[in-house]
């Protein structure tokens, strides 16, 4: 059988990723490659800082880099800040110009390479995907890891981004959503034909997240972990309010907010004003082994996202035997049973559950064991297989 060749547009890849998107692209492409899919992966970034990068995807996987400062999770205003720094001065004036530049490169790539199908991840590359389809006439798959509604919590959505998302999805042959939650949000916000949207849940290869080290902090305190971008979407303020409530009733607990984002300073001052700054730590953005160690030292992981298309961090925590409390407004809650679920705004219930997990070792152990068992059964291979089924359907529509 002829191997399927995929032209894939993405923009971040571990270890230089800023969030779950890069992790998901890595997991999916690695599993696709294992299943004899040839992938031509287009990245907007230079490769200078990724020593491991080529090794990771060396098999049947070629990469093209487009020089551009676009990164995932960038908003128009934070892009402006980056651009003002001198070293970036060669680039376009604003984010949208960059997205345009990236998509124009797609025209060249699409006409220079041979491929069967186009697969683009999230809005920054959607236009590139659409142009590649126009140039080549090949079917287009758009993979939605989040939409503008998620990133802004429904407030102050950027209509330019919304238009890109909506137009591209209308032009796509298939839209992949990372959860039923995201599928319903796509239908709700963009009225895309529901029959065109397939759900492929993200997954995890559990072995990649194990580490043995134990930190000193853990020996002294119970640790409750928040890990993610410190932005409105991830609900960090609910975590801080809950920390204050828990600390009124229990001591010797540390709350750690790991990650970076536009709400970080606000969270630091919020903890100060609630009088708990000594109990809330902000180690910043972590990757690689430090990230794994952070998971490892936690007694409990909390993901209070306001709107979470998937939420891979919950699965990463579980890989390290850490029980999780997750927001019901998340995609991962569709595939995870052995966990505690809350409404992100319900600070009382979040605190009730945090205290209970820390108080009762039997609860902690049951959650940790059963969720680990549950997540161990997941792997990217099944997600990749669903993806291949979609490719085949698009390539052989008569079957």
């Amino acid at each position: 059988m002829k191997r399927i060749r995929v032209l894939m547009f993405g923009w971040e890849f571990p270890p230089m990723n800023n969030g779950g998107l890069g992790t998901a692209c890595y997991g999916l492409t690695k599993a696709l490659a294992k299943n004899n899919i040839d992938i031509l992966f287009v990245m907007p970034r230079m490769s200078g800082q990724h020593p491991n990068f080529m090794k990771l995807i060396s098999l049947n996987f070629a990469t093209i880099f487009i020089n551009s400062p676009i990164r995932e999770y960038i908003t128009s205003s934070s892009y402006q800040k980056n651009i003002d720094e001198p070293c970036n001065s060669i680039y376009g004036k604003n984010l949208f110009e960059e997205v345009y530049r990236y998509s124009q490169k797609a025209r060249l790539i699409a006409s220079s390479y041979d491929f069967d199908i186009i697969h683009a991840h999230d809005w920054l590359t959607f236009q590139a995907g659409v142009i590649a389809k126009e140039v080549s006439g090949k079917p287009l798959v758009l993979h939605v890891h989040s939409i503008e509604y998620d990133r802004t919590g429904g407030n102050g959505s950027n209509s330019y981004v919304e238009n890109i998302e909506k137009d591209s999805m209308n032009k796509a042959d298939c839209v992949i959503a990372v959860s039923n939650y995201t599928k319903s949000k796509i239908i709700e916000n963009y009225h895309i034909n529901e029959n065109k949207i397939e759900v492929i849940h993200n997954s995890i290869d559990i072995e990649e997240y194990k580490i043995k080290e134990i930190s000193e902090l853990k020996k002294q305190n119970k640790i409750v972990l928040f890990l993610g971008r410190v932005t409105l979407q991830k609900g960090p303020e609910y975590f801080v309010y809950s920390a204050a409530k828990v600390l009124k009733h229990r001591d010797s607990i540390l709350f750690i907010i790991t990650g970076d984002g536009d709400m970080l300073n606000k969270m630091v001052s919020l903890s100060a004003s609630l009088g708990i700054s000594d109990k809330v730590l902000f180690p910043g953005f972590l990757r690689g082994d430090s990230l794994k160690k952070m998971y490892k030292m936690a007694d409990l992981f909390v993901m209070p996202s306001v709107s979470e298309p998937f939420g891979l961090t919950a699965l990463e925590a579980i890989s390290n035997n850490v029980p999780v409390i997750i927001s019901k407004q998340s995609g991962v809650s569709e595939v995870l049973n052995h966990c505690l679920k809350i409404n992100f705004w319900d600070i009382d219930e979040m605190s009730n559950k945090i205290i209970s997990v820390l108080d009762h070792s039997s609860l902690h152990n049951c959650l940790s064991e059963n969720s680990h068992k549950e997540v161990s059964k997941m792997n990217w291979n099944s997600s990749a297989n669903k993806c291949i089924t979609i490719y085949n359907k698009l390539l052989n529509p008569q079957n």
Binding site: S362, L363, N370
Partner: protein, 486 residues
């Protein structure tokens, strides 16, 4: 001759409301009254009343040849009494037909047998009393919660005077033997009736299952299965939840029509009849059965893992029963009642985590989002009960501090007064002269403080007396303490 023996389990728990950790110590209302009322009213309409009416009709129609038996828990009887006394009346009418047998079990549908024999016995007696009070019967047959059974249970139940006991006809115990005979529990003189789980579950679980090869099940077919036992057994024990009729199996699937026509088809064969468990006692036992480990009627495992399978369940049960002696010695009726309502097995069933194989049933009946939520809620309530127990104990100890001391330990004041308790001391401080006070309390010693410390054993008051600079201050200290303790 094949005798069909029906026993229906009638039970609803007192479900807990959402109870957060912050309420511990502040709120002693644990039960979701509105949910409990809503459930019981729904099941009364769908099952209890229509099923009772149908069974009464069948008894009348068949001239007393149709018979059934019930085990009704105390927790559901309490709810009937509170929300729908007409259901109790309807059971009373059934009981007067003489064709209905009642069984005994633990009042609270508890797992007490596995944790405390003493509490187990008390709950059986409570249930027996309730049966006498409501239906004027004293059951001779016992069934344990969820048919949990082993040799020890049989011996214990026999010692309480019961004549018969019921168990699951578990394959791994019976091996080559048939459940369609009467047996004897190991080392007792009782009779043992075993559930024919094949035929029972055909009605209870598979009746409405469209993917089942025998679907749809009708009365002639079922009667044929019963007939085929002739020659290989005397009795077919059909034991199931009463909610099978109209609640687990829906009316529109024909479960009531099935029950309505079943006696006709079974009695059409003159070799068949219906009997109650008490009547089954007359059937001679064919042998003794050894149940070394607990067997139940739940899930595919037929063991106790649905209630005591994971660490949370074990933790919750162990902590619950560890309170027993303190709770019982509190003599506090409300506290004991709440503690017992927490023993109902349903609370532990909700914490069961083996969802994925045979867990559908668990999820369907769970009022909580997950077994973990069930555990959290339960432990919060249990911790409040713990605090109440401690408070009751402390207030009892406090009132003891006010009691009279034995005569030989009385305080002899140098002015001739004899003090036997703190009231006497307060009065004496007010009345005695400063000289008398100074004789006992000075820079070298304080006899009052020694007496309060050594005899009354109230450390707090000792400090207050030692700190007093005058007779008046000492009097005030004692009066204040009496107010605290009284």
């Amino acid at each position: 001759m094949v005798s069909t023996c029906f026993y229906f389990q009638v039970h609803q728990p007192h479900r807990l409301r959402n109870y957060q950790v912050f309420e511990i110590g502040n709120n002693h209302n644990y039960f979701d009254e509105s949910k409990n009322e809503q459930v019981i009213r729904k099941v009364i309409q769908k099952c209890y009343l229509p099923a009772n009416n149908l069974i009464l009709d069948l008894i009348n129609k068949h001239d007393g040849h149709f018979k059934v038996s019930y085990s009704i828990t105390g927790t559901i009887l309490e709810q009937f009494e509170k929300y729908a006394p007409e259901v109790i009346d309807s059971f009373k009418v059934l009981s007067k037909t003489g064709c209905v047998d009642f069984l005994d079990e633990t009042y609270y549908h508890s797992l007490a047998f596995l944790y405390s024999k003493e509490e187990f016995k008390k709950q059986i007696l409570l249930h027996n009393k309730k049966m006498q009070q409501l239906f004027n019967v004293s059951p001779k047959i016992f069934r344990n919660t969820e048919l949990i059974y082993n040799n020890d249970l049989a011996k214990f139940i026999s010692s309480l005077g019961y004549k018969g006991i019921i168990a699951e006809g578990a394959k791994h115990i019976l091996e080559w033997r048939s459940p369609n005979y009467v047996y004897k529990p190991k080392d007792t003189d009782m009779k043992l009736l075993l559930k024919n789980y094949q035929l029972s579950d055909d009605i209870a679980f598979r009746f409405g299952e469209a993917s089942w090869k025998e679907y749809p099940l009708n009365a002639p077919k079922f009667a044929q299965w019963v007939n085929s036992i002739n020659g290989d057994g005397y009795i077919v024990n059909l034991f199931m939840d009463y909610e099978t009729f109209g609640e687990h199996q829906w009316k529109d699937k024909g479960i009531f029509e099935f029950l309505k026509s079943l006696p006709n088809y079974i009695l059409a064969n003159p070799d068949n009849n219906f009997i109650t468990p008490t009547e089954a006692l007359k059937i001679p036992a064919v042998g003794e059965l050894d149940f070394p480990y607990p067997v139940s009627w739940a899930d595919i495992e037929r063991d106790v893992s649905a209630w005591i399978g994971n660490e949370m369940q074990k933790d919750a049960l162990q902590k619950l029963y560890s309170l027993e002696s303190q709770i019982m010695s509190s003599n506090n009726y409300e506290l004991i009642k709440d503690w017992r309502a927490l023993q109902t097995s349903d609370h532990f069933y909700y914490m069961c985590t083996k969802w994925f194989a045979d867990g559908d049933v668990h999820k369907y009946f769970n009022p909580f989002d997950s077994p973990y939520d069930a555990f959290i809620n339960f432990m919060n309530v249990l911790n409040d009960i713990k605090i109440r127990t401690k408070e009751v104990k402390e207030s009892k100890m406090a009132s003891k501090l006010l009691d009279n001391v034995p005569d030989q330990n009385a305080f002899w004041v140098c002015d001739g007064k004899i003090l036997k308790n703190l009231y006497d001391l307060a009065k004496a401080f007010k009345e005695m002269s400063d000289d008398t006070y100074g004789y006992h309390a000075n820079l070298q010693k304080n006899d009052f403080a020694c007496w309060v410390g050594d005899i009354i054993k109230d450390k707090k008051l000792v400090n207050d007396i030692l700190r007093s600079r005058s007779r008046q201050q000492a009097a005030k200290a004692v009066e204040k303490r009496i107010k605290e303790l009284a």
